[in-house]
Amino acid sequence: MSIEMSKRSLFAATALLAVTLAAPSAFAQSRAETLRYVTGATVNTLDPNIPGSTREAFALSMSSYDRLVSFGRKLLNGKWVFDLDTITGELAESYSVSADGLKITFKLRPDAKFQDGSPVTAEDVKWSLDRCVTAPILGKAQLLTGSLTSADQFKVIDPLTIEVTLPKPDKLALPNLATVYPIIINSKLAKAHATAEDPWALNWTKENAAGSGAYIVETFKPGEQVIAKRNEAWNRGTPDKPAAFKRLIIQSVPEPATRANLVERGDADLVIDLQASDVQSLEGKGKLKVISTPQYNAVTFISMNNTIPPFDNVNVRRAIAFALPYDDMFKAALFGRGAPLYGATWADGKPPSGGYPIPQPIKLDLEKAKAYLKEAGMPDGFSTTFSFNVGQAATAEPMAALVKEQLGKIGIKVDIQKLPDAQMSTAINEKKLPFFIEGIVAWLPSTDYFYRNFYTGKQRWNYSSTDNAELEKIAQEARFEADKAKYEEQGKALNAIHFDQMFQIPIWQAAQDAVMQPTVDGYVYQFTRQVDYRNLSRK
């Protein structure tokens, strides 16, 4: 009896031991197959088209939805970045552009299925694209830039073929279909949730994903976390395989120091929004992988409103351009992490390229600045305010202090104004700020796109309130220019006008510092300035 008992208890103990030993290893395995990404921002909607969507929402939608096509990748200075010029099929198996450039025909993958198992058809594609150009959503303004404006342009040829017609050959039409907004939605599912006031089911897609993407959203808690599992049936990645990580955790951690601790301790796998100082020290310790990519589709400006005196005087703008302490700002704000856009030398004063942005031939030269001020008729300087938003205080605050100090030397008195984010955007939209720090980003960074969107019209993104007929004319012509050499000449002409008029001062392209565990592989800098989770795997 007693032997029997002890045998049994021995057996039980062994079983218990086995369980306790097995549990952590099973956990470790699932941990290795999970990507835990921490961010200071938050995913606020599952449909990236909803007005107010955050960048994190855009990033998630890249994985939860498919589009017809997607961008390839290329090496830029040894780092992988998205490539505008390589467009590969995503839901489209292949596509062809007609000789006159007016028709794009997409053949859909016959094996593509939505996450609920129903096949992806040309009808779904048509409904989704119609929605993108018709509903009051973000996609409308984006697709407009690619001459996609009306539902009549999308035609179903057969269940697996769809044809897009363009009013004129527009080289941005195809790239636009690879951006965040033209997601392909399971139209039957969405229509079932549409109402009379909400025919495009926006209220439903806000909180429910109905796509065919690589990850299936399991938990969505705005402001806290999103957990998604791999869609095993998905094969739209470049190697025709499902995504590498089985599970994806996107977690909001507002405090940057905590994010740095998490990734350093190995509890988080990847973070892209640390403070520059933390990145510097983590890189110094050498335990983590740090990939710094200058955000080559974004620019930080010190901007001046060209309609508010004294900045309506071109010589005042030139004086400012030669009075800023560029190097000190670059070190203090970014710890030198990024690509500077100052300090270039242009041979015979002409722009060396038609790209945008290119480094400007400006540097700190107080004598020159004083001369320009004199020419402007303000040798003793003037007073102005210099604004930035609270959300960017970490980089903008040291910059503002340096600007104030340096401009004081040529008699310009600067009052620093720190505005909450919503106030700042309102003031910029109403064109009330004379002098401020702001940034821009373009998903489809081509020269004409930058000039058309950021230097024309009475709209928010024209920070400098530029109104220059010549610039507008060249930029509009360049939009539909098919000849590469001519386009380059037009770009050079635009850059020359920009430098001559000094509408605003492009100062740098800040780096995106992706800090990750050494085991994480495949990171690509994307046009969304976010992580595309489908790129990543663990070594």
Binding site: P51, Q225, S425, T426, W443
Partner: protein, 343 residues
């Protein structure tokens, strides 16, 4: 029985008389948000291509194109039906957001208050028993330190030591380890939900997660509680009834706890009530540092982006809680000092 009835009656009367104040808060916040510069429509129309048209669409969606009195009328009507509006920031109904986040804040604040009371009252009593002694100075030093160091500094410091250096504490990211499974939500308080589900491991995980933020908050409020306990105990210990109690030879414990402390506790309860309400709304730094999904960080984020509905909802919630806490304090008065019921 009679006293309980009287207390309830008094509480009910107090509550009804606070309704006009709540209404005032509602209207005032509504107007204040609209007076502040910062246009939510412009902020949220921030896609790379959002122009005038997008801004107008959002403005219409938010109802901001209507005249102010109309907006107010619609808002009051909605609040009356329990609809606090929708947050642009999270894309969710404000009432739902608050309902999910309030238990997180309450759990944290109550734990912190409990830790603070359990520490502060004995410290205050000890200090009062030997005023001017080494113990008294020690308590004073501890309190000053606690109140001097801002919560985000002590929070980051605690994280650095206990999570980063020693590895005792779990990662400071919210209420529960991200890999853990949540218990079925019954009360919204994880500590209670885990117990109800009988999941002791889960309970321990949630408790560990709660420890550092609660300590951080407690450190900050120990000072006022301990100081008020000390001051009030000093008065109490020097009064006639304690001298009498001493002279009839009652035990030390009875004199200090039953007679002196019970008489000294009234101001401590008052302060604890105020401290609790303040902590609930003002612990935004702690919530941020520990990624705690509470109501205060929610309201701050909303305020920064001029998201009206969540801020208004938050202020209304806080005002309501303040009223309830004051009622509770009133009731506790009655228990601590029976004379209060008559007054």
């Amino acid at each position: 029985m009679g006293t309980i009835g009287a207390t309830l009656l008094r509480a009910g009367r107090r509550f009804v008389s606070s309704l006009p104040a709540l209404f005032g808060v509602l209207v005032f916040t509504f107007l204040l948000m609209r007076v502040l510069p910062g246009d939510p429509a412009v902020f949220f129309a921030s896609g790379p291509n959002a122009g005038k048209e997008e801004i107008e669409v959002i403005r219409r969606q938010l109802g901001l194109d209507k005249p102010l009195p109309n907006q107010l009328a619609i808002y009051l009507y909605d609040v009356g039906r329990g609809n606090l509006g929708r947050s642009m920031m999270t894309g969710q109904a404000v009432a739902k957001d608050l309902k999910e986040r309030l238990p997180a804040s309450l759990e944290l604040t109550l734990t912190a208050l409990l830790i603070a009371l359990v520490t502060a009252v004995p410290l205050g009593v000890l200090a009062a028993l030997r005023p001017g002694s080494l113990v008294d100075h020690g308590v004073r030093l501890f309190c000053s330190l606690g109140v001097c160091v801002p919560t985000f500094v002590s929070g980051l410091l605690l994280i650095y030591v206990f999570y980063y250096l020693l590895g005792f504490a779990p990662d400071p990211t919210g209420r529960i380890d991200i890999f853990a499974t949540l218990p079925p939500s019954r009360t919204g308080f994880l500590i209670i939900d885990f117990l109800l589900a009988g999941d002791l491991d889960g309970w321990w995980a949630a408790a560990r997660q709660l420890m550092l933020p609660a300590l951080t908050m407690a450190l900050f409020v120990i000072a006022p509680l301990a100081r008020i306990t000390r001051a009030s105990m000093l008065v109490s210990l020097g009064s006639d009834f304690v001298r009498t109690a001493r002279s009839v030879g009652l035990s030390w414990w009875r004199i200090v706890v039953t007679y002196a402390l019970r008489n000294a506790i009234l101001p401590v309860i008052t302060i604890a009530g105020i401290v609790f309400s303040t902590m609930l709304g003002a612990n935004v730094l702690v919530e941020k540092v520990f990624s705690w999904p509470g109501v205060a960080s929610y309201a701050l984020d909303a305020l920064l982006v001029s998201d009206y509905a969540p801020v208004q909802g938050f202020v209304l919630l806080m005002a309501t809680i303040f009223v309830i806490v004051n009622l509770l304090v009133d009731v506790l008065y009655g228990i601590a000092d029976p004379r209060a019921t008559v007054a």
